[in-house]
């Protein structure tokens, strides 16, 4: 029972031909027992027991950060487990490297296509497994073989074309075809339709069903409920790194799945005391820019405005637009009643906007520089007198933030990269506390942050509000935005689709609006 197309020719290499026990349809092919992954103190996947049956389409659903990506990475050998066991066809396996996973027949098609853009479609399909003769590649033979596979799958794609000339959706199909012709027995799709057109999705679904008919086990990860109900035989729900349960698709419905995805035990969410709401700080009217259209909302002093949505829904893009990082294409920004133009980050900072961006690593911190420099970065002009920086004030400012925020470091000279996620987040926050602002935008402030630091961050929000600031809180973690926000706006596909006051809608309603069932 190999895949559709047995054009693999790596039999010279003994290591890659691991005996494959055929597993009859409906019997366990891959079984996870207590599989767990920890990053430092953070448990990305709590010990999980999930069994995948041979020849089934098994959907996995969950919010952002629920542990789906961690699960894929563990099964494809990209990361190594902390503890637990995996049984493949009844044998305990390590899955320590991607090669091991592939040689056993476990493959994944990722949301972001991980292929070489500058090579042809055929070269990508044969990458790492080229047809050789006398040490030379047989390009024509590969192109012909690849074209035969593509035609047979019903994909109208030229095998000789460069991958970069195809749309993302077409590239996704190439990646799938690549996996299909490699003797794959277990194929994981990670949100494959995120970038596909309706027609491309339909092609992909046909392929998935065909692979299933050939006996391939499919794991299908998606946010889209209608796809799950259309394709899957069974569905597993993950939430906060925990496997909540597995259902047969015929015995469940959207309402039950959404209820399972939602956290009912609202632990450690610190809700601020009700503060008097003050004057409007900022108001956007029909604001549009790259990734978001026609967003109108306002933030008043003393309130938290939450933005909820799936990743890519336009929340972070809106924040970057308001902050002057991205050019705005339409709409107006009114700051404390006056119409303003924000052309760049400095304009935003000078008005009194602070942004703690989504990715600490890529946007928030200079990782290989000291903590002190990171904290002082927005305020060096204030710390300077004439040409030089006032060394005493530089040290004092950094040390004060380290002390106030309880950043766990012996000195301000330690590099930011040496800190844990929670402490790194505090450095980003410290940067803006030392600068000061009227409007604080926190984008995913508690991702990868331990529970204790989370509580500290929530207390800090309350302190900022007391001082008359307003906060925009962007989070993919529903209980967090739900409990903390005075007003909650839901984003979907770049648009603000719904607004609620504190607790005026249920979790189910909010999540349903974000997913767009």
């Amino acid at each position: 029972m190999t895949g559709l197309y047995d054009v693999s020719h790596r039999h010279d290499d003994g290591a890659t031909t691991i005996a494959k026990h055929p597993v009859p349809k409906g019997q366990p092919i891959l079984e996870m027992r207590g599989l767990q992954k920890k990053y430092g103190a953070v448990e990305a996947l709590k010990p999980a027991n999930i069994t995948f049956l041979s020849g089934e389409i098994h959907a996995i659903v969950g919010e952002n950060g629920a542990g789906k990506s961690t699960l894929i990475k563990l099964l494809t050998g990209v990361i190594r487990r902390t503890s637990g066991e995996v049984f493949w066809c009844g044998d305990a396996v390590q899955l320590a490297t991607p090669n091991e996973a592939i040689s056993r027949g476990i493959n994944a098609v990722h949301q972001e296509v991980v292929l070489c853009r500058h090579l042809s479609v055929a070269a990508n399909m044969f990458l790492g497994d080229e047809i050789n003769k006398n040490g030379l590649m047989r390009k024509r033979a590969m192109t012909d073989a690849a074209q035969a596979v593509l035609n047979d799958l019903g994909f109208n794609l030229p095998a000789a074309a460069l991958l970069s000339d195809l749309t993302i959706g077409q590239q996704q199909l190439v990646a799938t075809a690549r996996a299909a012709m490699r003797g794959t027995q277990f194929l994981i799709f990670d949100e494959p339709t995120a970038y596909l057109t309706r027609q491309e999705s339909a092609q992909l679904f046909r392929l998935i069903r065909r692979l299933q008919a050939e006996g391939v086990t499919i794991v299908y990860i998606s946010h889209r409920m209608e796809e799950v109900f259309e394709l899957a035989d069974r569905v597993s729900v993950l939430r906060d790194g925990t496997h909540i349960g597995t259902r047969k698709i015929a015995e469940t419905n959207d309402a039950e799945l959404i209820a399972m995805m939602i956290n009912r035990t609202i632990e450690q969410i610190y809700h601020k005391e009700t503060l008097p709401i003050g004057a409007t700080i900022v108001e956007t009217r029909g604001l549009s820019g790259p990734g978001f259209t026609d967003v109108s909302l306002s933030v008043r002093a003393g309130e938290i405005v939450g933005l909820y949505g799936l990743i890519g829904a336009g929340r972070s893009e809106f924040a970057l637009g308001l902050y002057g990082r991205q050019p705005l294409s339409a709409g107006e920004v009114h700051w404390q009643g006056n119409k303003v133009r924000i052309r760049n980050e400095r304009d935003a900072m000078d008005l009194g906007i602070a942004l703690a961006p989504e990715s600490r690593r890529d946007q928030g911190l200079c990782l290989n520089l000291p903590i002190g420099l990171n904290i002082n970065l927005p305020v060096f002009d204030r710390l300077s007198r004439g040409l030089t920086i006032n060394r005493g004030r530089e040290i004092e400012n950094a040390d004060r933030q380290i002390k106030d925020l309880k950043i766990k470091t012996p000195t301000r000279r330690v590099l930011a990269s040496a800190m844990s996620g929670g402490n790194q987040q505090k450095i980003v926050i410290g940067k803006w506390l030392s600068h000061g602002a009227k409007l604080f935008i926190f984008d995913e402030p508690t991702v990868g942050v331990d529970v204790g630091t989370k509580a500290e961050i929530y207390r800090l929000f309350a302190r900022l509000l007391e001082q008359g600031a307003g906060i925009i809180l962007i989070s993919s973690y529903l209980p967090e935005v739900y409990e903390l926000s005075d007003r909650l706006h839901v984003f979907r596909q770049g648009k603000l689709v719904a607004s609620h006051t504190y607790r005026s809608a249920s979790h189910e309603e909010v999540l349903t609006q974000a997913i767009g069932v």
């Binding site: 911190l365 290989n368 920086i389």
Partner: protein, 324 residues
């Protein structure tokens, strides 16, 4: 779910390490001097030391300018060509009867313009630093050869040519120029906010931008400083050899980059100092000088330089990895 690995106990007081590395380099330099003093009779003569300081000075100034660029995670391959081009510029201006001081001022301004052009290419046209500076490297040599018609322009201004041979307090004036560049460079890089911005841009330009740093202006600053240092070296070279010649200073960009890297600058950006490249330049000059005294084949000298770069940078890598 992006979760960082926790390595809470990694207190690396960076400053101490920097001083230690600087001292190691200084130790290496002194060790080389001691070794050469023992193995040759001519090393510790005032003539040779003056010569050594003169040789090292020009690379040292280039290396300081280069370091600003490398700290922003860029590279400036054009500095050697800028040196040659500036020697032609000043010689040509003097030949046209422009007085000495304006001629030197205009030459430095040409350096500023070249640096601004590099930054323009990087910031506005989106070209990689490697490409735009490689392009000006070859173009400037071409322009210089075109202006001089492939020959040299000799400089008859005595005041100008005497400068490089002069001493002050027993130290060659060229070495004084290193000090004259190094002190403001030190203040700029280590004591002013613009220096901090160079490091921030080299470490993570997106984070710097979101923290209100004007990234584009910082890049302009770095490349202008590098080219201006190179133009200044062009003046010193013209003074030293008494001619303007577009083919001079061939390969000096590599000497400058090597000095900077030996001095602890990371080609990945965000790591570097002013004293490091200075020491690096004089270590390279000492090796060349010593090899001359010991009658080592000039071709072998190049090999030694190459091996030395690999060894020193490799040890620096080990040190950094150890401190992680």
């Amino acid at each position: 779910m992006s979760v960082e690995t926790t390595t809470e106990t990694a207190p690396v007081p960076k400053k101490g390490m920097n001083i230690l590395f600087g001292l190691t380099l200084l130790g290496l330099l002194l060790f080389l001097w001691l070794l050469l003093g023992l193995s040759t009779t001519s090393f510790w003569t005032s003539n040779n030391i003056s010569n050594l300081l003169r040789q090292g000075s020009m690379t040292a100034i280039l290396a300081v300018g280069q370091t600003f660029v490398i700290i922003t995670a860029g590279i400036d391959l054009s500095v050697g060509a800028v040196v040659g081009f500036s020697s032609v510029t000043v010689a040509w201006l003097l030949q046209q009867g422009v007085p000495l001081w304006p001629a030197m001022g205009i030459t430095l301004l040409v350096g500023v313009a070249i640096g601004a052009f590099h930054a323009f290419g990087i910031v506005r046209m989106g070209l990689p630093a490697f490409i735009i500076t490689l392009a000006t490297l070859t173009s400037l040599r071409g322009i210089g050869l075109l202006v001089t018609n492939g020959s040299t322009i000799s400089i008859s201004n005595e005041a100008f040519t005497n400068f490089s041979r002069a001493d002050f307090l027993g130290i060659p004036s060229l070495f004084w120029m290193v000090i004259a560049v190094a002190i403001p460079a030190y203040i700029f890089l280590h004591l002013s906010r613009w220096g901090r911005y160079l490091f921030a841009v080299g470490s993570n330009s997106e984070a710097a931008r979101l923290s209100g740093v004007n990234v584009n202006r910082t890049i302009y600053l770095a490349y202008i400083l590098s080219s201006t240092c190179a133009a200044f070296v062009g003046l010193l070279l013209a003074s030293r050899i008494g001619i303007g010649n577009a083919t001079q200073a061939e390969g000096w960009e590599l000497q400058a980059i090597a000095s900077s890297v030996i001095g602890g600058t990371s080609l990945f950006g965000a790591v570097g100092s002013v004293h490091g490249p200075l020491l690096g330049a004089f270590i390279l000059a000492t090796i060349n000088n010593g090899a001359n005294l010991l009658n080592v084949n000039a071709f072998v000298q190049r090999i030694i330089t190459g091996v030395l770069i690999i060894v020193i940078v490799y040890f620096d890598q080990l040190r950094r990895r150890g401190s992680r």
